[in-house]
């Protein structure tokens, strides 16, 4: 089949060398999850290690809160993060402490530098620095500094107070100013009598905005209120501070502890401030307090709640007023505190841990109960994760008699314990199904598959209760039902794996099985023989078993099986796999079953060497991690019945998350039947009216649900999903990269641009293009370096992506076009009409531009201004971004069409109700259809398509026989029109009015017919020659049918968010 690839045919590029040499870093931060937990006070050594599923710690930072019962300076700890591990460390072991920790892990857009071991500031040293490599942008970077000491002498508390800040490279002792970069993180203290250890992190969040300063609360004062240089929105901002107290303060905790809050008059309406105030409870004549502070503002949807609370009576716990519900998988708390404590021996009264007890309740706990009241200013930071947080996507793929429901992982801290993370593949879920109507029931109690809940049925329980205690080395486990658990798996046949979790104790384990009956897993291995698969440890009755397979999920994680039992004394672990190097770092951390992990210093072909950190409770195992992928609900009717599925994440055996709207957690599916409809896929979040984009074995579609979904073409199941900040209304552009590989790029309505690796689904980069208003609506056009001429190749080292903007205001005429480098998203050039010699500004670009690689030209059609008259046809040099020419050519909202032989462009205008044609073989505007060809009473409403069925090998039709297809709005209904280019204009070959006076989407050309979707829920196949309706196919659910693409099959989008795969040719007709 001949296939027209939009993006390949419509690509062009350019780059201005100056900008290209200095790419600005501007990615976006997309949260993966917030891990959290508490290290209990029982850790007796000087460090506790928490195993995490954190493969790349360079995209994560940790916030720790410490409390202790003792009153000395040793009541402190630091937190060091590394791949798959959090190390909570204190300098000595003379007193127990408790640490509440929060690790914010990002998928993209955050880069963290840190010290891998604590930095020692020796006794007698007042200041030191840490080198940052590479240098960080001071506009978008902030620092987190923790310090500790082993000093137990009361009266020395001020010695471990350390102030850290990003320093101006040119001026020692000054903070790095806005607009500069730095490679210096500086630490200061006044009292140097004691050595201290420092753990630091420098976090760079692209598109975050950071203001910073050094301030001092005077010795006789209790507060200071530095001004911010930029007014900020407090609901998007948080304050970080660290400080040191002057020599002579001597244990005066009340003078050291300062709380922070935004202050001053509203500077841009309610909730906007331009001051920060630091307040301590008591002043002292020799006790100045020196502060380093930063105000971090996010513009990516991150929300920050500020509040204050004070304990009353004799207390150790402070609970603020309940806040509105937070998703605890994307939220972390921070606080600052002041207290009128009585001098020395009171460190324990101002150090609190911070934990959420529910989605709405925050709790602060100190190590000692006292009547001394502290004032706690807290900040609750909820990072942007996805539109439908906490269940980013629920999708249903319908095949013949079967529906596969898939959901993205849900995380919740309530299933965390000190050493076991919330299951790395996400928490368990229960799925209810109802036939013919939305699920309105809510589950309660422990439910097994097949149970009835109101009008709904449990079709997936996600977990099952064991009927008896699970003993170590058991070979079978009996549960309520094994429905939904795989009976044949791809993970090393014929093994399947399940996960066992005790919600009471937090103990977890995983095991393999070879058989399954209705209620029993069988063939669980016993013993610890060489090469032994996973056996099960002992678990109490009512433990939870949950299914997963190693083939599920998005990430390939190496699996090896151990050769021998592992004990806590093991220093070497041999495996049955050789080599084991694939996927394992030369040194680092590896995981064992059940959440345990170990560190190793080197690898041989089949063993880990230099092993430390083994928990004695685990005697054998292997590391396997994956996320919930989905389950198949089979045996369904294929008579057009609609099945509704609603997903409820679980936080315990009988605890369900019910706080999401129906549109966030429910999908409908109609199992296909017959030869034409191969499958459908429906996701939550919004419409998917654009044509899907097919590449390799996947099909991509963008949705109003803030995501780009990649499906497997063969069966419609999810390959991967990329969450976005905004709506993606443009066509996703799939292209072959010049350097090898394939990529998909697109933009969203907030101005973010994304590029993913087609093979892995990995987000390569994101970038927010600099706009004063609006975002990106049009599809992205690509110019591949490999297909371009020498001029282009000399100017650009890689492919270019052309991104055009859309302003939301009717009168906004300052739209721009950007060329981004395909490798990293840096801006190669910017076309700003107002500063590029253009005769007028540029109205919004709604439709995808077209690129002529051979001539290095980019053609863009735009709207023509609020009152008309603006230039609306633009021609840019793709190499430089320079304006070649522009023209007032009507109000244009639909993609421009470049002919296969790259000799002509065509586009339809809204206000002139015509189709325009230009010969582009020279840079002169040669409008061959003078004034355009009128299509009145119709108004163009779609992309034009060129009939390729009569083209020669050069892509040219016989003279005078070029034919175009376009959809028009006739007022009383839509039509598909065929126009034949006879040179001086277009004559009508035929016009096909909608049979019911309804609407048509854009057409697509197949081998045998011209296909078009319709607002009546059908896809029509029109005869090329006559426009006659040969066939039509009613889609399930009868949505408004969107645009389509052909890649051996027909893929169609719709208003309901459903994408359809239709086998061609269509057959049958519609009544």
């Amino acid at each position: 089949m001949r296939v027209r690839s939009l993006m390949v045919a419509m690509v062009v590029a350019v780059a201005s060398l100056g900008a290209w040499l200095v790419p600005d870093a501007a990615e976006g931060a997309l949260l993966k999850r917030v891990h959290s937990g508490t290290v209990q006070s029982t850790f007796a050594s000087n460090q506790a290690i928490v195993a995490l599923d954190l493969p790349d710690a360079s995209k994560a930072f940790v916030i720790c809160h410490v409390r202790g019962a003792v009153t000395t300076p040793a009541n402190r700890a630091t937190c060091l993060l590394s791949n798959n591990q959090l190390t909570v460390r204190r300098a000595g072991t003379n007193a127990a402490v408790t640490v509440s920790w929060y690790v914010a892990e990002f998928a993209a857009g955050v880069t963290v530098q840190r010290n891998s071991a604590v930095t020692n500031i020796a006794s007698g040293t007042g200041s030191t620095t840490a080198a940052l490599s590479p240098s960080v942008d001071c506009n978008t970077s902030f620092s987190i500094v923790m310090s500790q000491t082993n000093n137990t002498t009361v009266g020395n508390e001020e010695r471990f107070t350390v102030r850290g800040y990003l320093q101006d490279q040119a001026t020692v002792g000054a903070v790095c100013p806005a607009g500069q970069t730095t490679n210096v993180l500086r630490f200061d203290r006044n009292e140097t009598g004691t050595a201290v250890e420092v753990a630091w992190q420098v976090v760079t969040v692209d598109r975050a905005s950071v203001q910073r300063g050094l301030s001092t609360i005077a010795a006789a004062g209790t507060s200071v209120s530095p001004a911010l240089s930029t007014c900020i929105e407090t609901a998007k901002s948080f304050i970080l501070q660290n400080h040191f107290v002057a020599t002579g303060a001597n244990s005066a905790i009340e003078r050291q502890a300062a709380r922070a809050a935004f202050s001053g008059a509203d500077c841009n309406g309610s909730g906007w401030k331009n001051n920060v105030t630091f307040t301590r409870a008591t002043s002292g004549t020799t006790s100045a307090l020196d502060l380093a502070w930063e105000v971090v503002t996010f513009d990516d949807g991150t929300a920050v709640l500020h509040g204050s609370a004070t304990g009353t009576g004799t207390h150790s716990v402070v609970e603020p007023t309940a806040i509105s519900a937070r998703n605890l998988g994307s939220t972390l708390p921070m606080y600052s505190v002041s207290a009128a404590v009585a001098g020395a021996n009171t460190r324990n009264l101002v150090d609190y841990t911070a934990e959420f007890t529910t989605e709405t309740q925050l709790r602060f706990t100190r190590g000692t109960s006292s009547s001394v009241a502290s004032t706690i200013n807290y900040q609750v930071v909820t990072f942007n994760r996805c539109l439908n947080d906490p269940l980013c996507t629920v999708g249903a793929t319908a095949g013949t008699g079967v529906v596969t429901v898939q959901a993205t992982p849900y995380y919740d801290h309530r299933t965390l314990s000190s050493t076991v993370g919330c299951p790395r593949w996400g928490c368990a879920v229960t799925v209810l199904r109802r036939t013919g109507a939305q699920v309105t029931d809510t589950p309660s109690g422990q439910l097994a598959v097949g149970a009835t809940v109101g009008s709904s049925t449990v079709v997936y329980a996600g977990s099952q209760t064991t009927t008896s205690a699970v003993t170590q080395n058991t070979s079978s486990i009996t549960v309520g039902s094994t429905t939904g658990f795989p009976s044949s798996c791809t993970n090393g046949p014929p093994l399947c794996r399940a996960y066992i979790y005790d919600f009471t104790t937090g103990a977890s384990d995983e095991f393999t099985y070879t058989g399954v009956t209705a209620t029993t897993f069988t063939g669980i291995p016993t013993g610890t023989a060489s090469g032994q698969p996973l056996r099960v440890e002992a678990h109490a009755a009512n433990s939870i078993v949950r299914a997963f397979t190693a083939s599920e999920g998005n990430t390939t994680i190496p699996i090896v099986l151990t050769n021998a039992a592992i004990t806590s004394a093991s220093t070497s672990i041999s495996t049955s796999t050789s080599p084991i190097t694939a996927g394992f770092a030369p040194s680092g951390t590896a995981h064992l079953a059940g959440g345990n992990s170990f560190q190793y210093t080197s690898l041989t072909a089949s063993s880990f060497e230099g092993v430390t950190g083994i928990n004695a409770n685990y005697v054998s195992g292997a590391s396997v991690v994956q996320s919930l992928s989905g389950f198949a609900n089979s045996g369904l009717a294929i008579d057009g019945t609609t099945y509704f599925y609603k997903v409820f994440p679980k936080t315990g055996p009988a605890q369900y998350v019910t706080s999401m709207t129906a549109s966030q957690s429910q999908v409908a599916a109609v199992p296909a039947g017959g030869a034409t409809l191969a499958w459908t896929f429906t996701s939550t979040g919004g419409s998917a009216l654009n044509s899907p984009s097919a590449g390799s074995d996947r099909v991509y579609f963008s949705t109003n649900g803030n995501k780009l979904v990649a499906l497997n073409q063969s069966d419609g199941t999810i390959s991967f999903i990329t969450d976005t900040y905004g709506t993606v209304s443009g066509y996703p552009s799939w292209y072959t990269e010049t350097g090898g590989g394939e990529a998909v790029a697109w933009g969203d309505d907030l101005g973010w641009v994304y590029s993913i690796d087609n093979e892995t689904g990995r987000l390569k980069w994101t970038r927010k293009v600099p706009l004063t208003e609006g975002g990106v609506s049009a599809g992205i056009t690509v110019q591949a370096r490999g297909g371009s001429d020498a001029t282009f190749q000399a100017a650009h080292a890689g492919d270019l992506l052309f991104v055009s903007s859309y302003g939301t205001s009717l009168f906004f005429e300052e739209n721009k076009v950007f060329a981004l480098n395909g490798d990293d998203g840096s801006i190669a050039w910017t076309f700003d009409p107002l500063n590029s010699g253009a005769p007028t500004g540029m109205d919004s670009v709604i439709a995808q531009p077209a690129a002529d690689w051979a001539r290095n030209r980019l053609y863009i059609t735009t709207r023509n201004g609020s009152v008309g008259g603006l230039q609306s046809l633009w021609k840019l040099n793709t190499v430089t971004g320079a304006l070649v020419d522009s023209l007032a050519a009507g109000n244009n909202e639909f993609p421009i069409m470049l002919t296969y032989d790259a000799s002509m462009i065509y586009f339809g205008t809204v206000d002139e109700q015509s189709v325009k044609a230009f010969d582009i073989t020279s840079d002169l505007w040669n409008e061959t259809w003078a004034g355009g060809t009128s299509v009145t009473p119709g108004t163009p409403k779609s992309l034009l398509w060129e009939d390729w069925t009569n083209l020669d090998e050069n892509g040219s039709p016989p003279a005078g026989e070029r034919r175009l297809f376009i959809t028009t709005d006739e007022g009383s209904g839509n039509s598909v029109r065929c126009l034949q280019d006879i040179g001086s204009g277009g004559t009508s070959c035929w016009t096909r009015a909608h049979p019911n006076g309804g609407t048509f989407a854009a057409t697509i050309i197949g081998d045998d017919a011209l296909y078009v979707g319709s607002g009546d829920g059908k896809v029509y196949a029109l005869d090329y020659a006559t426009g006659a309706i040969n066939h039509c196919f009613p889609l399930t659910g009868s949505p408004t049918v969107g645009d389509s693409t052909i890649f051996e099959h027909l893929f169609v989008g719709s208003s309901s968010g459903t994408v359809y795969k239709l086998n061609l040719p269509l057959s049958g007709g519609c009544s």
Binding site: R326, R863, G1015, S1056
Partner: protein, 198 residues
């Protein structure tokens, strides 16, 4: 001071300015009145036309079960909030070619490129966020928005009409529904209409 108060003050200022230049002002007010009357008449005509079109559409599309549009497709109205519970009022604004932002429920996509959906809240807890869901005339969730919300000022959400709506002729009665994030039940909903007339 909320935005409505500001608008009222702005309107008052406009009238005061008119009074300073009586001839031009009278003319402008008269022209504005004529324009408003024309718009209202046009809306009534549009209503009739769309009712007729909807009737024909229903008759001509018997395979689609679409007897209703907009909020009527979403089931029962949200109950009236009890005292102290979060309450929300939804308003729609369009920016016309006269550069005025006008509160309306009907919009011509040929003239208005963006509808601003404004939600004015009461009794929200600190740190609350709103979820705004917008449903197309055929009852499908077209798009959702999440944003921080407070009792201090309305949350304005721009809703572009150009692009998917015009390209797919999604004209008719739409429905905006708002929730407090964390509560699955809507607080308020209101319909608005999008049409296209050159």
């Amino acid at each position: 001071m909320n935005r409505r108060t500001l608008l009222a003050l702005a309107a008052g200022l406009l009238l005061a300015t008119d009074a300073l230049v009586p001839l031009a002002g009278v003319s402008a007010v008269a022209a504005k009145d004529r324009s408003d009357r024309n718009e209202r008449r046009e809306e009534r005509q549009d209503n009739r036309r769309e009712r007729e079109a909807a009737r024909k559409s229903r008759e001509q599309r018997p395979d689609r079960d679409e007897k209703r549009e907009g909020c009527a497709l979403l089931g029962e109205k949200p109950p009236r909030p009890r005292r102290g519970d979060p309450a929300a009022k939804i308003e729609f604004f369009g920016e016309g070619r006269d550069r005025r932002r006008q509160e309306r429920q009907r919009f011509n996509a040929a003239e208005v490129v963006t509808v601003v959906i404004s939600v004015d809240w009461k009794n929200l807890d600190p740190g609350a966020s709103q979820r705004l869901e917008v449903y197309s005339p055929d009852g499908d969730l077209f798009r959702a928005f999440v944003a921080p919300a407070s009792n201090d000022r309305p949350v304005d959400t721009p809703f572009p009409l150009r692009g998917w709506i015009t390209q797919h002729s999604l004209y008719g009665t739409w429905c905006a529904e708002v929730f407090v994030v964390g509560d699955p039940e809507p607080v308020a909903r209101r319909a608005f209409t999008v049409r296209f007339r050159q």
